[in-house]
């Protein structure tokens, strides 16, 4: 099991992390490229940047969202995201790993914080899952990935918690650690290809929506000729 763990933490991690990074860069660049092309084609190039910015920022300020519709969901989702992002990036054990492999380190979470943030992430992931199952409209809209993501995200948090904060015997420890690393790797691979792409695409949403309404000029003729409708009556 030990050699497996070494493999999962070493080469496999490097591979999956690279896939995530390149995948995210790819979709981000595709989006930017799409926006650029659309802007070039648009007949009206005047962009209401103030509106775009303020509409975009609204979603980054949790208080705003909580005060609007679905306050519970918004609260859970915000708290869930905080743990989800902060714990993996600033956990002492994780930062040490980075230091060992690439020699760079950054501030780390105090032990207590890590403890409580992990618990809160687990709790709020479950809350979101429950919300999805028992809210009529949410469950109607949900696809498989919408249920599977919170479940998948729970695995590294639970196994990580077990390893870091509970006294388990070494064999179990190794098993949990392997699960922890493997599920983490799986998450990395899936991020760019599923809805979690939102972590890089979100900031572009308002720009996309605004430019989408900026049509290219002379589409009437172009569409007519493609569809063989030239000269057809209204």
């Amino acid at each position: 099991m030990e050699s497996w763990l070494e493999f999962a933490k070493g080469p496999l991690f490097r591979l999956t992390f690279a896939i995530m990074l390149l995948g995210l860069i790819r979709i981000f660049m595709l989006d930017i490229w799409g926006i650029y092309k659309a802007y070039r084609k648009a007949g009206d190039k005047n962009m209401p940047w103030k509106l775009v910015l303020s509409r975009g920022l609204e979603w980054f300020f949790p208080v705003n969202r909580v005060a609007r519709n679905r306050p519970f969901y918004s609260t859970f989702s915000t708290l869930f995201h905080i743990g989800l992002l902060v714990v993996p990036i600033f956990l002492y054990a994780h930062v040490k790993q980075w230091e060992k492999s690439i020699g760079i380190s950054w501030i780390t979470l105090p032990f207590d914080w890590a403890y409580w943030l992990t618990i809160s992430t687990i709790v709020f992931a479950i809350a979101l899952l429950m919300g999805r199952m028992f809210n009529k409209s949410s469950s109607f809209l949900s696809r498989k990935q919408d249920y599977l993501w919170p479940i998948l995200l729970l695995i590294p948090f639970i196994t990580g918690f077990v390893c870091a904060h509970l006294n388990v015997n070494p064999t179990y420890y190794q098993f949990f650690m392997l699960m922890h690393v493997l599920s983490g790797n799986l998450i990395f691979i899936l991020i760019p290809f599923t809805k979690i792409a939102h972590c890089v695409l979100m900031p572009l949403s308002q720009v996309v929506c605004t430019i989408a309404w900026k049509f290219p000029p002379e589409t009437d003729e172009a569409v007519c000729s493609t569809l063989n409708k030239k000269g057809a009556a209204v």
Partner: protein, 489 residues
């Protein structure tokens, strides 16, 4: 805002189709609006061809690619859609409605979808799916309120807009809109209400006489004047139904002395293209631009109409020269500007009823004009009340997206589309509801009538006409001069 879902009985009434069963059978399409006969063979193939052609020549692809990667399915939009709030039918959730078209896009226009479809041999677009889209896309009033609530930034109104456009290319579009647009673009009268020029002139002369009677001021509707500051395009139906709004606008221009004109070559601001076809949108917008150029007018002035204002403001630059296109302004912006410059005076005591202002979605949703009409109203209405939510987050009148012009949808509009609005009006207790939009006015009048709410619906300039005080130099009858002065309290 919390509301209750309508009763089964109301639902049955709202969704009852007025079309003959034979027509439904023949057109192989069970929707609630009338459609001209169209080719029913191979609809899925033709739908996909139209979709492909549109994607090729537009900017939609970029947005669709973004949307299919993003959607979080958080169901926030459900809490804002007035249609879903009224029907409680899960299929009316904006995100579901959008998914109808997004799934076609994913399956037929992305590599992943094509491969999956090939491997599993499934998911090809069917007639049933087209039927569902034809139904669903016209349930939406295109108010765009849901797009404010979507953290993924998915613009459901854009998707509905695109869906209707594609459907129209295969012949599925409400007859009422198509017939009007045909008259506007190819007919003899060149306007959606089929008003001949002589009739227009008669109407305007008649209104001028009326106004002289009432105000003792020679208020004019200048026709075909060249080189004016503003060329005026109201919703043409105003000439038939909203005389008071037009009178208010003419009164403002008389008070300021600025030059403006209505052109007899083309005088219709209505643009149903915005509701069902980008191709028609482009054609209509170009007509407005042409007429402005013919008259060598400087700016385009749109009357009290939300969709006419939005289609001109956002699409004149698109289709008529970008930065070089003429400036488009809405009449409320003009009136506000001249009032601020001190060129307008109002009698502050004239309107004593409880007045509320309804934001037309097409004017407020993008934060275009929100405070200006309110400030104007507060200048001469003693009892102004606000409805909540309002402004950019306003609730749609329930007749947006062209549905107000489709008479067979009236019951739908006044029981489903406008239910939330009706609740809001009732709660505000207003006696006069100001709606500076031809579509909103018609819908709101039908709404208060069908829902039994005692409230009068008027335009902003209807009240301005009442409140405006002219300079003595303009008043021709001696006895009228003192009358027009504000009375002491």
């Amino acid at each position: 805002m919390n509301t209750t879902v309508i009763t089964d009985e109301e639902k049955q009434k709202a969704f009852k189709s007025l079309r003959k069963p034979e027509t439904i059978e023949k057109q192989k399409l069970d929707v609630r609006y009338h459609i001209e006969d169209f080719d029913v063979s191979e609809r899925p193939r033709r739908f996909l061809e139209a979709f492909a052609a549109i994607l090729k020549h537009s900017n939609y692809k970029m947005a669709l690619d973004h949307f299919i990667r993003m959607s979080a399915k958080c169901s926030r939009c459900a809490t804002t859609c007035q249609v879903y709030q009224a029907t409680g039918d899960l299929k009316d959730i904006p995100c579901y409605r959008s998914e109808l078209l997004l799934s076609v896009y994913r399956r037929h226009f992305t590599i992943g979808g094509l491969i999956k479809g090939r491997l599993l041999g499934s998911g090809y677009l069917t007639d049933d799916k087209i039927q569902e889209m034809a139904d669903s896309f016209w349930n939406c009033t295109a108010c765009k309120r849901c797009s404010l609530e979507c953290p993924s930034g998915i613009d459901h109104a854009l998707i509905t807009h695109l869906g209707r456009y594609i459907l129209s290319e295969i012949g599925i579009a409400p007859r009422a809109l198509v017939v009007s647009t045909r008259e506007q673009l190819e007919g003899a009268t060149k306007n959606t209400s089929a008003i001949p020029v002589p009739a227009l002139k008669d109407t305007l002369e008649f209104l001028e006489d009326d106004m002289f009677e009432e105000k003792s001021v020679r208020i004019k509707f200048p026709i075909d004047v060249e080189d004016t500051e503003y060329v005026f395009f109201p919703a043409v139906s105003d000439f038939l139904m909203e005389a008071e709004s037009l009178m208010g606008i003419a009164a403002v221009f008389t008070a300021t002395g600025d030059s403006w004109t209505t052109g007899t070559g083309y005088f219709d601001g209505i643009n149903y293209g915005l509701f069902y076809s980008d191709r028609m949108l482009e054609r209509v917008v170009k007509k407005v631009d042409e007429e402005t150029k013919r008259l060598r007018g400087k700016n385009i002035l749109i009357g009290e109409c939300g969709h006419a204002s939005r289609s001109a403001k956002y699409f004149i630059p698109t289709y008529c020269g970008g930065k070089d296109a003429p400036l488009v302004i809405n009449i409320m912006e003009y009136t506000y500007m001249v009032w601020k410059e001190g060129k307008l005076k109002f009698n502050p005591n004239i309107v004593t009823e409880k007045v509320a202002y309804h934001d037309p979605c097409n004017i407020a949703r993008q934060r275009w004009i929100i405070d200006k009409p309110r400030e104007l109203l507060k200048a001469f209405c003693k009892n102004y009340v606000e409805m909540t939510p309002s402004g950019e987050n306003n609730i749609c009148c329930g007749g947006g997206g062209g549905t107000v012009s489709i008479d067979e949808l009236r019951t739908y509009r006044t029981t489903v589309g406008g239910k939330l609005k009706a609740d809001q009006i009732r709660k505000s207790g207003c006696e006069i509801l100001v709606a500076p939009c031809a579509n909103c006015k018609k819908q709101l009048r039908e709404l208060v009538e069908d829902q039994g709410i005692a409230c009068e619906v008027v335009g902003l300039h209807d009240l301005i006409y009442k409140a405006i005080i002219f300079d003595d130099s303009l008043i021709e009858k001696e006895e009228a001069k003192s009358e027009s002065l504000p009375k002491e309290n």
